[in-house]
C-alpha cells in the first residue's frame, strides 16, 4: 500500500484557476486512453474510457468536503454514494463504474480533471491466487487525475482502490491499495 497526497488536488481544486461548472463546452465528453499498472513483479495494461456528463455541482462538492472534514472516511463514503452520478469509468471494456465526483480546472498550463468513483475499480495484485483478500477492506473508492496540456494531449494517474482521510492540516491523504499509482497515457477526447 502507498500513501499519497494527490487527493489534496480534489479538495483544493477550487482554490485557483478557472473552475468550470460544466465540461469545457457544456456537452458530455468521452476520453479514451491506456492504463498501465505496475508492481515489482511486472506490469499490465488495458484501455480506459471516461464518460463525463458534467462536473459535480458546488453544493455536492461542499457536502463531500464537509463530510470528510467533520466525519472522516465513513461519512465521506456515505456522501459520495449520495452524490449524483456525473459520469462513468470503463476499464478494459468491462462494466461501467459510477463517477460521483468530478472537478475540473482550466488554467494557463492546461486542463485538469479529478474524478472519484463510488467503488474500487481494480485491486492491483489483489487478484492473485495467493492474495490476501481481507487486505482489500476499506479501499472503497477510486481516484483518477487527468491533465491535458495546451494541445489537448492527456496523461494522468489512478488509484484504482483507495481510501481517503484528513491529514489534520487541512489536506487529504490518499491511501492506495497498490504499490504504485496506475499510469494513464495517451488520453484523448473522443470526437462526438
Amino acid at each position: 500500500m502507498t500513501t499519497a497526497k494527490i487527493l489534496t488536488i480534489v479538495l483544493l481544486l477550487g482554490a485557483g484557476g478557472l473552475v468550470l461548472a460544466q465540461p469545457a463546452d457544456g456537452q458530455p465528453e468521452t476520453f479514451t486512453g491506456t492504463a498501465q499498472a505496475k508492481n515489482a513483479k511486472g506490469a499490465v495494461s488495458g484501455t480506459i474510457e471516461v464518460r463525463l456528463r458534467r462536473v459535480t455541482p458546488q453544493f455536492d462538492k461542499t457536502a463531500l468536503e464537509t463530510a470528510l472534514k467533520e466525519g472522516g472516511y465513513p461519512r465521506f463514503l456515505t456522501a459520495i454514494k449520495n452524490a449524483p452520478e456525473v459520469g462513468q469509468l470503463v476499464l478494459g471494456g468491462g462494466n461501467p463504474f459510477s463517477i460521483r465526483y468530478a472537478r475540473e480546472r482550466v488554467d494557463a498550463t492546461g486542463r485538469r480533471l479529478v474524478l472519484v468513483t463510488d467503488k474500487p475499480v481494480f485491486f492491483v495484485g489483489g487478484g492473485r491466487a495467493d492474495a490476501n483478500v481481507a487486505a482489500r477492506k476499506g479501499f472503497e473508492v477510486a481516484v483518477i487525475e487527468i491533465r491535458f496540456d495546451g494541445k489537448g494531449a492527456g496523461s494522468g494517474s489512478m488509484a484504482a482502490a483507495a481510501r481517503v482521510r484528513p491529514d489534520g492540516d487541512g489536506g487529504v491523504l490518499l491511501d492506495d491499495f497498490a504499490e504504485q499509482l496506475i499510469t494513464l497515457t495517451n488520453i484523448a477526447r473522443k470526437p462526438s
Partner: protein, 179 residues
C-alpha cells in the same frame, strides 16, 4: 453431475413436504373475528380506495428554510390489499440538484420507499411503517421523510398527500391520480 442430482432430489422432496404441509393447513377453518365495518369513513373503505396503482401528477417540496421546489419527473405509488405501500419517484436532474442543494438526500434522483401503511381516520393521515423502524413517528427528517405522516385529501380519483413541517406549514404536497 451426481451431486446435482442428489440436491435436486432433496429439493423436490422438500417442496413436496411443504406442499403437503400447506394442504393440511388449508383444511383448518378460519376463526371469525366478527364483521368488518365497511361504511363510508371506515378504515376498510379507505384501504379499499387506496388499493391499486397511482401515478404522480405533481409534487412540490419545500426544504427547511428554502423556497418551494416543483419536482419534475415521474412517480408511481402502489398500495396492495394488505396495506403494503411502494413509492418510486424519479426526479429529473435539475429537480434533483435543487433538492440536494436544499439538503434532501435523493441519490441519482430517486426517492424510493417501501413499507406498510397505518391509516388514522380521525386525523386523516397515512403513516408509513418502514422496515427496520420500530415506530415511524419517533424520528424526524426532511419534508419527504417516511417518518412524517401524510395528510390525505381525496378529490375524485386524485389523492393529495401532504407532509407538514414543525410549524404545521406544508413541507411537501404530492398529487397522485389513480391509473
Amino acid at each position: 453431475m451426481h451431486v446435482n442430482r442428489v440436491w435436486k432430489s432433496a429439493a423436490v422432496a422438500a417442496l413436496l413436504t411443504g406442499a403437503i404441509a400447506c394442504a393440511a393447513s388449508e383444511r383448518q377453518r378460519p376463526i371469525s373475528a366478527g364483521p368488518v365495518p365497511v361504511g363510508a369513513g371506515t378504515t376498510a373503505t379507505a384501504r379499499k380506495f387506496l388499493e391499486g396503482r397511482w401515478i404522480l401528477e405533481s409534487a412540490v417540496i419545500t426544504p427547511p428554510g428554502a423556497k418551494p421546489i416543483t419536482l419534475k419527473g415521474t412517480g408511481v405509488l402502489t398500495y396492495d390489499d394488505f396495506g403494503n405501500m411502494e413509492m418510486n419517484i424519479k426526479a429529473d436532474e435539475a429537480s434533483s440538484d435543487l433538492l440536494r442543494a436544499g439538503g434532501i438526500v435523493i441519490p441519482d434522483g430517486v426517492i424510493s420507499t417501501t413499507g406498510r401503511t397505518a391509516i388514522d381516520m380521525q386525523n386523516k393521515t397515512l403513516t408509513y411503517i418502514v422496515e427496520g423502524q420500530a415506530s415511524s413517528m419517533k424520528t424526524g427528517g426532511g419534508p419527504l421523510s417516511p417518518n412524517k405522516p401524510r395528510h390525505w385529501e381525496v378529490n375524485g380519483d386524485v389523492l393529495t398527500l401532504t407532509t407538514k413541517d414543525d410549524t404545521g406549514a406544508p413541507a411537501s404536497v404530492s398529487r397522485w391520480k389513480k391509473s
